[in-house]
């Protein structure tokens, strides 16, 4: 737990709002507003915040699916913006992403087998027989059998699709994975299955997770460290156990007091006054 695998330094992402008339000045939406933190090998790092807080944008900036306005993202000490095209492609084997909506994250026109094989095809790994073998192995790994190979996404349930999305992400045996609200769309019993699966895969492949979620219960269960994002900034960061005890930022206080516990002794307590929501500012 000494060398960081990912370092985010002073990252900003501003979106330019389209100018609608000649008299307009350029306006910006500050989706990510000066964020720095590091992720260490093998940990699960939680990123919590409400909708519009910039947590998803940050996740995609780290994977360079969105280019940051300024700041650097380092992978194992190397600035990823300086990668050559070839280096970038090689790096993409090491880092993966799983999205929230299992209905949008699989190409509806392709079979599960094709989707699973795609990463191997992109990186030209093995021959046809090897790839097929590997796809079946990984499918089994996530709890699906080989009969799924010829099926299309619409024939699968939400939980099954999410397993396929995870399987196609781990088939390249990455080191780092962004889980962008990866269990939020699922029912409780299915969510538990997927969370257990992610934990098991983490142990097996020594994965590092950036776990993005709005659900504090899930994050507190799943993650070792938590960062709370609000209006594009990280307002609080710390070990999961400690974070709950000593809250400083008013938003984090409100957030933690909103957790609905099943424990008899914990009654829902509400802070006085309305906290400004993003949309009202």
């Amino acid at each position: 737990m000494t060398i960081p695998i990912i370092e985010v330094e002073n990252v900003y992402k501003y979106y330019k709002q389209a100018r609608k008339s000649f008299s307009d000045k350029n306006k910006y939406v500050k989706a990510v507003n000066g964020v720095s933190f590091s992720l260490y090998e093998g940990e699960s790092f939680g990123l919590v915040g409400e909708s519009g807080s910039g947590k998803s944008t940050l996740g995609q900036v780290i994977l360079q699916l969105i280019n940051q306005t300024s700041g650097t993202v380092k992978y194992r000490g190397k600035n990823v913006s300086t990668y050559t095209k070839k280096e970038l492609k090689a790096w993409r084997k090491q880092v993966q992403i799983v999205f929230q909506n299992p209905y949008a994250s699989l190409n509806p026109k392709k079979t599960i087998g094709w989707i699973m094989e795609e990463p191997l095809n992109i990186h030209r790994i093995g021959n046809k027989a090897f790839r097929r073998q590997r796809v079946m192995e990984v499918l089994e790994e996530v709890g699906l059998d080989h009969t799924f190979m010829d099926r299309y996404p619409h024939e699968l349930s939400g939980g099954q699709r999410q397993r396929v999305a995870i399987a196609s992400a781990i088939i390249l045996e990455p080191e780092f994975m962004v889980i962008d609200e990866g269990v939020s769309a699922l029912d409780v019993s299915v969510q538990a299955q997927i969370l257990n699966l992610l934990k098991r895969l983490q142990r097996k492949y020594r994965l590092t997770y950036l776990f993005i979620s709005h659900d504090l219960n899930v994050v507190q269960y799943f993650c070792d460290r938590i960062a709370v994002m609000y209006l594009g900034e990280i307002v609080e960061i710390g070990e999961t156990e400690e974070l709950g005890r000593s809250l400083k930022h008013p938003y984090t206080k409100a957030l933690f007091s909103s957790i609905l516990s099943l424990d008899e002794s914990e009654e829902l307590k509400l802070l006085d006054g309305n906290l400004p929501s993003l949309l009202e500012i």
């Binding site: 995609q60 699916l65 993409r92 880092v95 949008a104 994250s105 190409n107 992109i122 992400a169």
Partner: protein, 271 residues
């Protein structure tokens, strides 16, 4: 019969009309009841009979034979102008939608500008400059259908570019080529197919209009629109001439419109 099957009836009517007229067109290449251009001054404006099923025109020519021959022109114009519109529209739309930036800005402006011309006016203007005739009609109608293809292609590319499965594939290292051909195109096929069918019916309709105005296909090439122009003078004395020729146009256009609607319906039901 269940609702889903019943809902497909118009689609099959459309396919039926197209197949029927396609057969008529193919037959007409080898056989027509009479020589479409053979005049018979003794038999002018004859009403439909066993001899002349659709009657004869003002020169005594067999109307059925002329309608059959006219179907060749309709299909040629439809297929060629849709091909032109599709190739250029798809190319512009795909590049604009996928890469965005200034190129998209320029293309979108041009699409907007071309859509400002009320349908047939753009074709009329081009014909005015290029002159009439089969080839120029095809070019004019082809250009006319570019903006709709470009717009549909552009919007599907923009739409699918933002989909999670495309982003997931980029995250796995996929390049533009793979993204376009494996991920976006297979999903964009159905809206483009709908546009092909609509564009075909639009071309047939516009050609008949242009030819009616004398700006489209010129003799000796046969054309339903020009037949209607001739028939207009005999609307009172030989109404079948007008009615039957117009029905041929209507059925072909209807066939493709029903086809397009059915395709769109299937696509919506899947989504």
């Amino acid at each position: 019969m269940n609702l889903k099957k019943a809902k497909s009836i118009p689609f099959y009517i459309g396919v039926g009309l197209i197949v029927f007229l396609l057969l008529v067109m193919i037959i007409s290449i080898f056989y027509t009841p009479y020589d479409p251009n053979a005049m018979d001054s003794a038999n002018r404006l004859a009403a439909p009979s066993m001899e002349h099923l659709f009657g004869t025109d003002n020169f005594g020519r067999d109307i059925l034979s002329r309608i059959m021959e006219g179907s060749q022109t309709a299909f040629i114009i439809g297929i060629s102008s849709v091909t032109i519109g599709f190739i250029f529209g798809f190319l512009f739309g795909a590049i604009a939608g996928y890469f965005g930036g200034w190129f998209d800005e320029v293309i979108s402006r041009f699409i907007d500008a071309m859509l400002a011309f009320p349908g047939i006016l753009l074709a009329i203007m081009l014909i005015a400059v290029f002159n009439t005739g089969m080839t120029n009609t095809i070019i004019a109608l082809g250009i006319m259908s570019i903006p709709s293809f470009a717009r549909i292609t552009r919007s599907s590319f923009i739409q699918y570019k933002e989909y999670d499965f495309v982003k997931a594939s980029i995250a796995k290292g996929a390049g533009s080529f793979r993204i376009i051909f494996q991920h976006i195109l297979p999903n964009a096929v159905s809206p483009i197919l709908v546009a092909v069918a609509l564009s075909f019916s639009g071309a047939v309709l516009s050609e008949s209009g242009l030819s009616y105005l004398g700006l489209g296909v010129q003799p000796p090439d046969p054309s339903w629109g020009r037949m209607l122009k001739e028939a207009q003078a005999y609307i009172a004395s030989a109404p079948w001439y007008v009615i039957l020729t117009g029905l041929a146009i209507t059925f072909l256009v209807l066939g493709f419109n029903l086809l397009a609607d059915g395709l769109r319906d299937k696509q919506d039901r899947k989504a």
